[in-house]
């Protein structure tokens, strides 16, 4: 049984989940993967050694939450919160629960965010990492609950909070309940503020919709990965609204930096040290 699960995870690791998407995930077929940006054929091991950043053009591949934790948290220190919560399928959508179960099997994830406590160069933090491989990182009740629980836990333990955002927005399948998670998570951030604790939000590709319009935009410090696409409305919707093409570079991390909504664009290999530095600077 356990072996079966491990097998399935390995299969997942080798699967080309993002094949329809030009921003491919970091989980390629076989040993080789083509960079979506410069089209260079890359050896998988080299890519992973390079933080899943193309050594040729610097393209940041999307990262699974598991790899993200590996890159940010000191080896052996991550303890995932075990919440055992499930969606109650508020809209009674057919096949929704089945779809979730299949994804859980396939990805080894229990939902679109992984939350826990771990160390960054010996500094203890609460960390939440969203995973775009699970329903495009969308926020329904479980994601909202896990984020809120994590923030409350940080208040209880007086720890900083770091959230890596990657999400298409609120999860449609749970309708209005998903919308309400925006209020719930934002209220939790306000509690954290009142407790005087640091919250660093890191925007990664993609961060959109109800996640942008809630906790993602509320960090004391907001970092972003190079070229990450970040916005409220999706590019297609905006294009429909204005009836013309969007300007070059619109809604990229660099665009947000220019418009004053991001503190710093940080390359992946610098991310851990940058977070560490910011945590140290914000210590009383």
């Amino acid at each position: 049984m356990v072996i079966d699960k491990i097998k399935k995870r390995i299969e997942y690791d080798n699967e080309d989940i993002g094949k329809k998407d030009e921003h491919r995930s970091d989980i390629p077929v076989g040993k080789w993967v083509k960079c979506s940006k410069c089209k260079e054929i890359l050896y998988k091991d080299d890519l992973h050694k390079n933080y899943s950043v193309c050594p040729n053009c610097g393209n940041h591949f999307r990262l699974s939450s598991r790899r993200r934790v590996e890159q940010i948290i000191d080896v052996g220190t991550f303890r995932e919160f075990d919440l055992k919560i499930k969606t109650n399928n508020p809209l009674e959508m057919e096949d929704y629960i089945k779809k979730l179960d299949i994804l859980k099997e396939k990805t080894g994830l229990d939902e679109a965010v992984k939350c826990g406590i771990g160390n960054i160069n010996d500094e203890k933090v609460v960390i939440c990492v969203m995973d775009s491989n699970f329903m495009m990182g969308s926020m329904g009740k479980v994601v909202g609950e896990k984020i809120t629980y994590s923030i409350e836990k940080a208040i209880e333990l007086s720890l900083p909070v770091i959230i890596f955002c990657a999400s298409g927005g609120a999860r449609m399948q749970e309708g209005i309940v998903s919308l309400m998670q925006m209020a719930k998570t934002s209220a939790a951030v306000q509690k954290l503020n009142k407790a005087g604790l640091l919250y660093i939000s890191v925007l990664t590709d993609p961060t959109y919709g109800g996640v942008t319009a809630s906790f993602a935009s509320l960090g004391d410090i907001i970092l972003a990965e190079p070229n990450a696409m970040i916005g409220f409305a999706g590019p297609r919707v905006i294009k429909q609204t204005i009836g013309e093409d969007l300007p070059e570079g619109f809604q990229t991390a660099e665009f947000l930096l220019e418009h004053g909504f991001v503190d710093k664009v940080v390359e992946r290999k610098e991310m851990k040290d940058t977070l560490y530095k910011l945590i140290k600077f914000n210590k009383v």
């Binding site: 508020p90 209020a183 109800g210 409220f232």
Partner: protein
């Protein structure tokens, strides 16, 4: 009378002659003065802010406002706020806190405006900040969904102690068209989406998202705006009386828990 379907309610909520926030405000409050601007960028007319009173009780009023004709609709961007509208709303809500005035919000929007400028000026940030700030404002907040309450654009003025909703109003994560388009890649299935989305006042009461359904006179608010206004007015007075009994810490803690449990 047969039961009005969810899709029929969507259509009623969108009727061009459905009373707008200002129609109610004029009737509900003894006196009302509109005040303008977010102090950063401009005065966005898709949200109306001001001060009003019912008897001795003063209120800060924040209302999403659709136009009542084409000219007004253009001026008010069809009730679709840009970030500066939310920042204006927040400015007045913070001011309400300073002067210990309860806040009444009227929700009626197709959603936050999805334009270039809105993105450049941080639509997501503006909505997020309102959600965060409203969650612990130290005054009672009543939010009333009077027409279409769609997406984060509605919720951005909707974090209240009491959420009331008119009988034919709808409140949802997205318009049924948008929902059908995202979930089934087919916006023409909007009617089917509306029936599934649990966007009617009754459904939302069952889900615990709203606290109370306000009946509309003769089954549709436009039949008698004055009567509708009086019903809303009564509800405001009743609810404020209840909320004012709580001390402020209890009020904000209850508000936190209310959304915490959703």
């Amino acid at each position: 009378m047969s039961k009005v379907t969810a899709w029929e309610k969507v259509k009623i909520a969108r009727e061009p002659d459905r009373p707008t926030a200002l129609d109610y405000i004029e009737n509900i409050f003894d006196d009302f003065i509109e005040l303008h601007g977010d102090r950063y960028f401009k005065d966005d007319k898709s949200i109306v802010c001001g001060l009003g009173n019912i008897g001795k009780q003063n209120y800060t009023i924040v209302a999403e406002q659709k136009g009542r004709n084409t000219k007004e609709n253009i001026e008010r961007n069809f009730g679709m706020p840009n970030p500066e509208a939310y920042r204006k709303a927040l400015r007045f809500m913070k001011q309400a806190e300073k002067f210990k005035r309860p806040i009444i919000t009227f929700i009626d929007t197709k959603g936050a405006y999805p334009g270039l400028g809105a993105e450049e000026r941080g639509q997501g940030e503006a909505i997020a900040r309102n959600l965060m700030e409203m969650s612990d404002l130290k005054v009672p907040i009543i939010a009333i969904v009077i027409g279409e309450g769609s997406s984060g654009g509605a919720l951005a003025i909707g974090v209240g102690d009491r959420i009331l909703m008119l009988e034919n109003a709808v409140y949802s994560i997205l318009s049924p068209e948008g929902y059908a388009s995202i979930l089934w890649k087919d916006s023409s299935r909007a009617e089917e989406a509306a029936e599934k989305m649990k966007l009617t006042a009754e459904d939302l009461l069952d889900l615990g998202v709203i606290d109370e359904v306000i009946k509309e006179p003769k089954g549709n608010a436009k039949q008698d705006v004055e009567k509708m206004s009086n019903i809303i007015k009564k509800k405001i007075i009743e609810n404020i009386k209840e909320l004012k009994k709580l001390d402020i810490d209890e009020l904000t803690e209850r508000r936190y828990k209310k959304f915490r449990n959703m």
